[in-house]
């Protein structure tokens, strides 16, 4: 399979670098489906006769596998280039759906765990990091913008998958017109088969469109000396193996962990939470289920928009400053939400929108932050290791929120004040993240790759 090798993907002179973001987006839009699993959750509960938690485990396994595979496979991705990585990710992601559908058709939940959770999760991890290092190399002048465009796709993928999956489930289930309809297992199985085919085609388009820049390529008029305006931006390189030994890596890990955990705090309970915040004295809520669903949609838009807008802004402000905004302003907004969010729905919605946009921004800005601190040498592998913060937050966020809320009662039957302990805990976490980010200093020179060695190791196989 030499046609997948990095050497075969080196861009010819005159290649338009703006072809690279849509190639990256093609992959991220597909794997972003992971956030649209709620569409068929109830159907799977009914089909397998399982609890909501047992079905929720499918998604949890996928996210844990995402973090693990990104961390373990990051160096492989950097070494073999984006085409092979995207191709591999496409195979895993599509196979995950195929195995999952087999599990649904044969009523074996463990096969869905194995398929969508384990195999699909590996596709998620490799796919997520596959274009990052290449984008940073094509856009040394705007790395935040470039990675923001791709990682925005992960947020946008759910926006597409959600309505498309609903429409397909209706098409595949002859009883879809019935009152109180829940899709049949057969319809979900067919949906999985369809998604496998469509996602495979899209991801392969990405794999065969992406190219890496030739050694020494730089955009017209780009002066690397200008990028070195901030003392945090290095022109040296740190290997992935050494990066995890630095204080800076773990400080950014803590900052990302805190930012993601706080975001999940709102995302996890978005619909029941807005209804609880505006509960009337008779037990009803000022916010109907339809309006709550609209609120969840608005959060998805905020998540996606934040990934692009804040990450692109970080090219102008610097990465450390923008993280100060995510964590510092985020903590302030969270405090206002906890203490005064129930005063008006408008205030609540605006606060939540910005908090979630910071959550998305934190994800999208991370690769550029790592590029600034550790150079481009193995930034993909370092980013892969950083994503374990996401997996950890994916476990910690719901645990913290659910532990506090369980002590108060059942979400959907609470009041605004019942949320305060959970929300104020998130504020404390954001403050911890803010302090961690504040402590980030340039990486000590002893971790840098020797310059002569770096030139030797800057062979194509290690470049993108």
């Amino acid at each position: 399979m030499g046609w997948l090798d990095r050497e075969r993907t080196i861009a010819p002179p005159g290649f338009n670098r703006w072809l690279v973001p849509p190639a990256a987006l093609a992959v991220h839009l597909c794997i972003g489906q992971a956030y649209a699993t709620s569409v068929y959750k109830t159907a799977l509960v009914k089909h397998f006769g399982a609890s909501l938690t047992e079905i929720g485990v499918i998604f949890s396994i996928a996210i844990v596998m995402l973090g693990l595979s990104a961390a373990i496979m990051g160096t492989w991705v950097d070494k073999n280039g984006p085409r092979k990585a995207m191709f591999t990710s496409a195979m895993f992601w599509a196979s995950g759906f195929l195995i999952g559908s087999l599990g649904i058709f044969t009523h074996q939940l463990w096969l869905v765990y194995l398929g969508y959770g384990v195999v699909g999760g590996i596709g998620l991890g490799i796919g997520y990091i596959s274009p990052v290092s290449t984008l940073i190399k094509w856009f040394p002048d705007r790395p935040g913008l470039a990675t923001g465009m791709a990682i925005m796709g992960f947020g946008g993928g759910a926006l597409i998958a959600s309505p498309v999956s609903t429409a397909l489930l209706k098409m595949y289930d002859p009883n879809s017109g019935a009152k109180g309809w829940v899709a049949s297992g057969d319809a979900v199985g067919k949906l999985f088969l369809t998604l496998a085919v469509v996602y495979l085609a899209y991801m392969l388009f990405g794999a065969f469109t992406i190219k890496v820049p030739a050694d020494g390529w730089k955009p017209a008029g780009f002066d690397p000396a200008k990028v070195k305006a901030s003392k945090l931006v290095t022109t040296d390189n740190v290997s992935a193996k050494n990066a995890v030994k630095t204080k800076q890596f773990w400080l950014v890990w803590i900052a990302l962990f805190c930012n993601v955990t706080a975001g999940i705090g709102i995302l996890e309970q978005a619909a029941p939470m807005i209804q609880d915040f505006f509960r009337k004295s008779d037990g009803g809520s000022l916010v109907s289920a339809g309006v709550a669903a609209g609120f969840v949609g608005l959060l998805s838009i905020g998540n996606m928009a934040g990934r692009f807008a804040w990450s692109a802004t970080s090219d102008l402000t610097g990465r450390k400053r923008i993280y100060m905004v995510y964590l510092g302003v985020g903590a302030l907004l969270y405090t206002v939400l906890a203490l005064a969010g129930s005063s008006t729905t408008f205030l609540y919605v605006v606060l939540a929108f910005f908090i979630i946009s910071f959550y998305g921004g934190g994800f999208a800005t991370a690769p550029a932050y790592l590029r600034d601190l550790f150079g481009t040498f193995q930034v993909g592998a370092i980013h892969g290791r950083l994503l374990t913060a996401w997996s950890a937050a994916g476990v910690a966020g719901p645990l913290i929120v659910n532990a506090f809320l369980d002590a108060q009662g059942k979400p959907g039957q609470l009041n605004a004040s019942d949320y305060q302990p959970a929300l104020l805990t998130m504020v404390a976490l954001l403050v911890v993240g803010f302090v961690a980010n504040l402590l980030v200093k340039p990486v000590d020179a002893r971790f840098h790759e020797p310059r002569a060695d770096r030139e030797r190791s800057a062979e194509p196989a290690m470049e993108a």
């Binding site: 338009n16 796709g153 998958a161 899209y202 949609g297």
Partner: protein, 47 residues
């Protein structure tokens, strides 16, 4: 020679523009559809 070279370069630019338009449309159209569908749900918030 230089005329032939220029026309080659122009053809390359045209091919690149075409590829660019197709690539962006392939990802942009579904994304725009997803955003539109979500915004119709969001409208309930302000309705």
């Amino acid at each position: 020679m230089s005329t032939a070279h220029n026309s080659d370069a122009q053809a390359a630019v045209k091919a690149s523009t075409g590829k660019l338009a197709v690539a962006w449309a392939l990802v942009g159209v579904p994304l725009a559809y997803g955003v539109y569908e979500t915004l119709t749900r969001v409208a309930a918030l302000f309705g």
